[in-house]
């Protein structure tokens, strides 16, 4: 691994925006594949997530990581024509009715877009029928329902009931995210639950590309 790549991981983990941008510019000038640079950034963001879990970073730092990530993407895309290596079917996202929390959703959709997913983000406080409409419109196979407050659990459950009533449930995999766990999954009738963006990314890849369902683990 080149020195610049190693430094990039560290700079991202430290959330040193100036250093990250300079290293990416240098890397591009040296002819390093932009995907290699982006992968180092991704490893750096994983470290940011670990530090957040340990209580050393805060929510604002997660947002900062996401902002740096976006800027790097813009820079890379400005200098070169970068297209996704793979293309996945559209994944529908939305914060369910009665809830407006969306930071985790926004970070997840950002990372997933970088990984080549087409995302339809319906926003926040999304009524159940809107999810049904979007699934029909995009012929989607995966829907991610997110929420942070307790009321969101009933909204998730109600949305899944609607999918059944619309005859879409059997062909649609439902992932719930936010403050969720196995109990919430069982209560709402979802297929999977996730509390971090990497897991959602992997779940979607497995479902849409490998066409397989995986065992839920914590």
């Amino acid at each position: 691994m080149l020195k610049i790549q190693k430094m990039l991981v560290g700079a991202m983990a430290r959330l040193d925006e100036t250093m990250v941008m300079n290293l990416v510019k240098q890397g591009l000038q040296m002819g390093i594949n932009p995907y290699v640079l982006l992968e180092e950034i991704r490893i750096g963001t994983d470290r940011v997530g670990e530090l957040y879990s340990k209580g050393e970073y805060f929510l604002s730092d997660l947002i900062m990581a996401s902002e740096i990530f976006k800027e790097v993407l813009t820079l890379v895309n400005r200098d070169r024509v970068v297209t996704a290596v793979v293309s996945y079917p559209t994944v529908i996202f939305g914060t369910v009715e009665d809830d407006i929390h969306d930071i985790g959703k926004n970070i997840t959709t950002g990372i997933m877009r970088y990984n080549g997913f087409d995302i339809c983000d319906l926003g926040v406080d999304v009524p159940g029928p809107k999810f049904v409409e979007a699934i029909e419109q995009y012929n989607s196979r995966v829907v991610c329902l997110t929420g942070l407050i307790t009321e969101a659990f009933d909204s998730m459950k109600n949305t899944i009931t609607l999918l059944k009533e619309a005859g879409l449930r059997s062909r649609t995999t439902v992932i719930i995210g936010g403050l969720v766990n196995e109990s919430v999954k069982n209560y709402t009738g979802a297929d999977y639950w996730a509390t971090d963006c990497t897991k959602v990314n992997e779940l979607c890849r497995n479902i849409l590309v490998n066409n397989k369902r995986i065992m839920q683990s914590s």
Partner: protein
């Protein structure tokens, strides 16, 4: 009946006022603030404290469900009583309905003195951001963080002089270009909990019974919901 209270530290001033007014003399154990951000940690701390409490017949839990923090909480030898609220906001406003009505007006971020004093709160995060990332980046981060919130609302619970925190919260709102309002709170759920008026607004768990998902979620209006939305779907087609 021998009673103990296990409460979130953020509610300390309000609980002190309610205890003074109801004249109960139950021992209180406080759980440190801020754990709700990691529900597993809050769950662990509450359960640890419950397991430690001995020689009482009932433990009053002054917490909301706080995500899933309360899910699975139980005591093998003591009755547990807790208000049926999502988090501490309905506790301070007096009901879930009151919070819902305010939130319907616009996205509202609630504050109290306890929140400012004990929690690793938004104002502290702002100061930390300024030091670390500077003014312009902080403004952007705060815009993302506050997302759909349009208003700060200071809850006047009667347990602290509002004027001591008002300048700080008002100035913060102005800096972030948010509306600022003060709303009267209500400690009626505190009083009911302390005075043993455990009606349908409270969850009463006998020894050995744990807080279940069905306790946390209302599951209300499922049939009504399905009928209404089915009609909406038909209309949309």
């Amino acid at each position: 009946m021998r009673t103990a209270i296990l409460a979130c530290q953020t509610l300390k001033a309000e609980l002190a006022l309610a205890i003074k007014e109801t004249k109960v003399d139950f021992p209180i154990i406080y759980v440190e603030s801020g754990l709700h951000k990691t529900p597993e940690l809050l769950h662990k701390r509450i359960q640890e404290e419950i397991n430690r409490i001995d020689n009482v017949d009932v433990i009053l839990l002054l917490f909301g469900y706080c995500g899933n923090s309360l899910l699975g909480i139980k005591s093998d030898r003591t009755k547990l009583v807790l208000p049926k609220v999502d988090d501490c906001i309905p506790l301070l406003l007096g009901s879930c309905e009151a919070r819902k009505n305010i939130a319907k007006e616009m996205g509202t971020y609630f504050l109290t003195q306890g929140w400012l004093e004990y929690e690793d709160n938004l104002l502290r995060e702002y100061d930390r951001c300024i030091k670390r990332y500077g003014q312009s980046r902080t403004a952007k981060i705060m815009k993302i963080m506050l997302g759909h919130y349009k208003r700060f609302m200071l809850i006047d619970t009667g347990a602290y002089p509002v004027e001591t925190v008002l300048p700080q919260t008002k100035e913060f709102a102005e800096r972030l270009n948010m509306c600022h309002e003060v709303t009267p709170g209500s400690l009626r759920l505190f009083y009911k909990l302390l005075q043993g008026e455990w009606d349908e607004e409270f969850l009463v768990l006998e020894p050995g019974k744990a807080v279940a998902m069905s306790d946390i979620c209302s599951g209300n209006n499922q049939q009504e919901f399905s009928q209404t939305t089915a009609l909406q779907l038909c209309a949309n087609k």
